[in-house]
Chain length 340, copies 2
């Protein structure tokens, strides 16, 4: 590659350039055994603590607009971090919140956002224990940016990691893809549809608890946020050194999302989700897992979408509805800025 | 008060308006026993963990310029969170980092900032275990904003809190005040002095460990950041329901800082520090504490600056160099934007 010398919007896309930035700048200088795993959350060895793993993670949120159908930046900021913890099998316990406010923001908007954070934290069973507020001049920020960090705990014996997929495993998806990203984009573009698009933004820790109850040997969990399902599958195939095959016909996409995607030229497989998860599990527990997911409000449309094979490590293949096969690459370039 | 309906720069000053925003919006909606304490870091009850307290905290950093004499936004972002943990008597273990990058930022600048974070984390003995990067369009951010969150551990039996000052205690300060804020301001204004001003930005956890070794019964620690020494003393007098008396003549201020403060109309007592701490301790261990502080590189200029009396709870009184007494209020309005 030719090395870019300035930050581009695509560095924040979750795609190829994001991965290069993480590898070349952050991991190179800050790297350690924990960080190098590039998991959704880090597992910590807390001395004096026994019987389960503690997990820690962080995310910043710069979504635009601040309010959108199905949520707002506050709900998103809580759910995003809760979900990153849940993707290590952990239940969230403690959250911290950092606000960067732009001078001139209406306090009433800030109050709505904070109320929404309180509601989401309550649903997730997490406590907000520390916070910080900074203010920047008009024009140096954009309304509100929020960072959340979280600490959670996984039950003893649970070992969920992006690196744990094994040939023979099945790939499950908790529901339809593309809703969050296309809800944001249609709102931003001012488009109106008969069926309004809504973000799927939701805390997934309850769903994960139900899944672990029926399948404690679950191998992998990942929420397909920036870069969408296709990028997340590539990350998993890479981290586990396996090939993943998924069937297009089995990947749920809501008709309104498909229509909006076509109109805007966006493939729902590359669009961010904020309330969905990919699970990879031994075939022996896939049916029980599917039933548990479908019994949960956030997993009603769950489906088995593919399988793990030895194949070419790092490769993701899509079996199309026409019966052909094509490589499903990681998102390259920048599709949807400021989506979360 | 008349309630402002929009966010003002002064909401980020660390002074009166910041406190109102925290009380009226954040604590009202997100409040719980832990958050309501408004401590520098929250103490957590981690089940399965024994023999010491875990502490968690967060801070965002929007300092301008990104690079300044004595540090940069990266060093500041690590030291700020390390110090908030240290103010509960905790040693930092794990940090998370969230970057919000503005499109167009030079990658070389980002690399310098990240290298600086790595060095500061190394000095503090903390590991960076999770990170996140978002990119916003040119004009929607300002170079780099950084959030850090931290998890640390205090030795068993240590109980350091803003609420623990008791009448009869002595008040110690680890060194001269005003260096950070005035280094930033003179740099921002393009002023040059014979003695260049340097930020005092430093991780204080090593100093705190030495202090706890000679005085495990230490009552209070606080780093006087935004709002400066005067505001921090007011917060402590308020939280502990005591009166604090300090002697102007005993508060160290470097001559160059005093001169720059006079030129810019800024009182060093209200200017942010990033490598200083206030300690309040029983009189019986004050001398040992002072000696331990002076033996540490970050406490060489430590001094006993005052005492705690029953008096009027929440009041801070300054005995001036002229022998008169005046109330030392919390910072009101906005003195120094974007200082950290």
């Amino acid at each position: 590659m030719t090395r870019d010398v300035h930050v581009l919007m695509a560095h924040g896309s979750g795609g190829v350039l994001s991965h290069e930035l993480i590898r070349d700048v952050f991991v190179r200088q800050l790297g350690n055994q924990t960080l190098d795993g590039l998991e959704d959350a880090a597992l910590l060895a807390l001395d004096g603590s026994a019987g389960g793993n503690w997990a820690m993670t962080t995310d910043s949120f710069v979504v635009k607009p601040l309010f959108f159908p199905g949520g707002d930046i506050g709900k998103l900021a809580v759910c995003g971090t809760v979900n990153d913890l849940a993707m290590r099998g952990a239940q969230p316990r403690y959250l911290t919140v950092g606000f960067i406010l732009e001078e001139g923001l209406a306090l009433a908007e800030l109050e709505r956002i904070v109320a929404s954070m309180a509601a989401a934290a309550c649903e997730a069973g997490a406590q907000i224990v520390a916070g910080d507020t900074k203010v920047v001049e008009r024009g140096s920020g954009d309304g509100v940016f929020i960072n959340t960090a979280g600490l959670g705990r996984a039950p003893e014996g649970v070992d969920v990691s992006a690196a744990n997929a094994r040939p023979g495993d099945l790939v499950l998806l908790s529901g339809a893809v593309g809703d969050h990203g296309l809800a944001i984009m249609t709102r931003r573009e001012g488009l109106r549809f008969d069926t309004p698009l809504e973000s799927d933004c939701a805390p997934l820790n309850g769903l994960v608890a139900e899944m672990l109850a029926v399948c404690p040997e679950l191998h992998v969990l990942r929420d397909p946020t920036r870069g969408g399902l296709a990028t997340a599958l590539n990350e998993l195939a890479e981290a586990s050194r396996v090939e993943i095959m998924v069937r297009e016909a089995d990947i749920p996409v809501h008709p309104a999302v498909a229509a909006a995607g076509e109109l805007l030229g966006l493939d729902p497989l590359y669009v961010a989700n904020e309330g969905k998860l990919i699970a990879i599990a031994p075939a022996s527990c896939a049916e029980a897992l599917l039933a548990a997911m479908r019994a949960h409000p956030y997993g009603r449309e769950a489906a088995i979408i593919g399988r793990v094979i030895a194949g070419h490590p790092g490769r993701v293949v899509l079996e199309t509805e026409l019966g052909t096969r094509r490589l499903l690459d990681m998102l390259s370039g920048e599709q949807l800025p400021r989506i979360c």
